[in-house]
Subunit: 316 residues, 2 copies
């Protein structure tokens, strides 16, 4: 049985992770990279690994870092049809440095990199439809730059109008919470989404009260599944029938939390689009997130269904 066609779009980045704590990128230290990254890139890699026919609208520069990204996504089974190479523009990048209080310092190059040149407009919509896309996933990380936001929103509107399901990870950038245009687009996308997948931090910023206070309103507005990612505390979800499944987190050592949320979203959405029961899909997604934090690198902890199943048997 062939997997569902899952699409995503947005920034492809290479990531460098500072080995030490509290350096704030302000002094020479040791970094590990280039790791393939970018929230929607992590998502689509994991979607392919759990059986989706994965298609991604993205762009890289004509440099070694672009090769890292393309080779990795293609090796995982993502279609290369909508991944473009932009000559003379550097591949997008992110530098992350962890602090002892758990916070992270980033240096990004997204808007001025090839990452912002993802295929868009009517041509991209036509390619997604020709690929038979069933769900398009979007991460709020793609919405920070006004140009990228506008092009992403246009694709989502067009695909929604063509009956493609929309999946939204708000992935709120707190420094943009005072930007009304940004928040308006986040809320519009949530309003059209079939799958709404916030983190605890997102929910605190966007909604009032606890999960059972705000999730029913999203279901009433048309969402098929709403899932709250609670990090180490697990995940809770509600489906269109009002059924709630609440799963505790797995007690696992955390090597690198970056990307775990995107991995969770991809596992859940791919399974749901494949017709999997919501409770089973959530269990798999919750396990995929736990596996993701155990490896250094934003998508190095992505895993296939066999690995997820083995992990769940081991934890049982």
């Amino acid at each position: 049985m062939r997997g569902p066609v899952i699409g995503s779009l947005g920034e492809l980045l290479v990531e460098f992770i500072c080995d030490g704590l509290d350096g704030h990128h302000l002094r020479a230290g040791s970094y590990t990279g280039p790791f393939p990254s970018g929230a929607p890139g992590i998502f689509i890699d994991q979607a392919a690994r759990v059986g989706a026919r994965a298609v991604f609208a993205g762009a890289v520069g004509d440099d070694a870092f672009g090769v890292v990204l393309r080779d990795r996504l293609v090796a995982s089974g993502v279609s290369r049809a909508m991944i473009e190479v932009v000559p003379g523009v550097p591949t997008g990048s992110a530098f992350v440095s962890y602090n002892s209080d758990g916070s992270r310092d980033f240096v990004f190059n997204i808007a001025r990199s090839a990452a912002s040149h993802f295929p868009a407009g009517a041509a991209a919509v036509a390619k997604f439809l020709a690929a038979g896309v069933e769900v398009l996933h979007i991460s709020g990380s793609t919405l920070g730059d006004p140009e990228m936001r506008s092009r992403a929103l246009e694709i989502c509107r067009s695909l929604k109008a063509a009956d493609v399901a929309i999946s939204v990870d708000p992935n709120i950038r707190t420094e943009l919470m005072n930007d009304a245009a940004y928040l308006a687009v986040v809320r519009e996308l949530i309003g059209m989404a079939d799958f709404v997948l916030p983190s605890d931090a997102d929910a605190d910023l966007l909604f009032d009260g606890g999960f059972t206070d705000w999730a029913p309103g999203l279901i009433d507005a048309g969402a098929r599944v709403v899932a709250l990612k609670r990090g180490a505390a697990g995940a809770i979800a509600m489906d269109g029938g009002g059924r709630i499944v609440d799963l505790p987190g797995h007690a696992v050592p955390v090597v690198d939390p970056t990307g775990a949320g995107d991995c969770f979203c991809a596992t859940l959405v791919t399974q749901l689009a494949h017709g999997q029961d919501m409770a089973v899909a959530l269990r798999h997604a919750n396990a995929a997130g736990a596996l993701a934090v155990g490896r250094l690198g934003p998508m190095e902890g992505n895993s296939d269904l066999a690995t997820i199943t083995t992990f769940l048997e081991r934890m049982a």
Copy 2:
């Protein structure tokens, strides 16, 4: 006695150096950085260290890497008057990976970074003149991008017309040797230069024969000093009187050759502008280059005159 006012302009970059060989930036590995870098940045840092009143027309992004660059140059004594911060544009970057055959693989972000936004035009010329600049140094590394090339050339022409001495390190980018516009600017700058400071590789690409074949022509055309940087083999120079000084290299362990040529140029030009005898200036520059290769990081091996003098006494 106050040092001469030495100026430069162009790309400020942070550099990350791959710790292993032959990775070609294609797989996750260990890198050390961010080191302050950029050929003209290395030059101006060293000029300040050997006593110049140093002024630099450059720009960085409003990110942690920009702080690394500004703090470093200012700590070395470079004026902050012409170092700008460009909001929303990333600081320039360079990734270098060494190969076992001695070659290097780079991934650059220069033209699309803040590095390309160095102050230019009549305002920059006026600031250089107000600072009392006596020599303006330019590296061929700044001339790859057509926009940067054009703005750099305009400043050089204006300052030359105002009787400021021009110093040129051709620093030829071999991938541009078929670009007639690039080569024409390199040759125009050499033609107006008071100090012509090629490497062996530059000389092979630009001139016919050995040093004594082509250096006299440059002196006849108006250069005050022509110096050939020969890496581990030392340096040879000719002054306006036709005197030639030929120095062997110092036998030192090479940790990181990047930046040694810029360090050589800065030491030589600052000393010459200070009225130092050419033979002594060349000896100091040759020692500064040897000191530069002993430290990891493009400008981490820069040194002051006391260190250079101590090194020469030790090597005597």
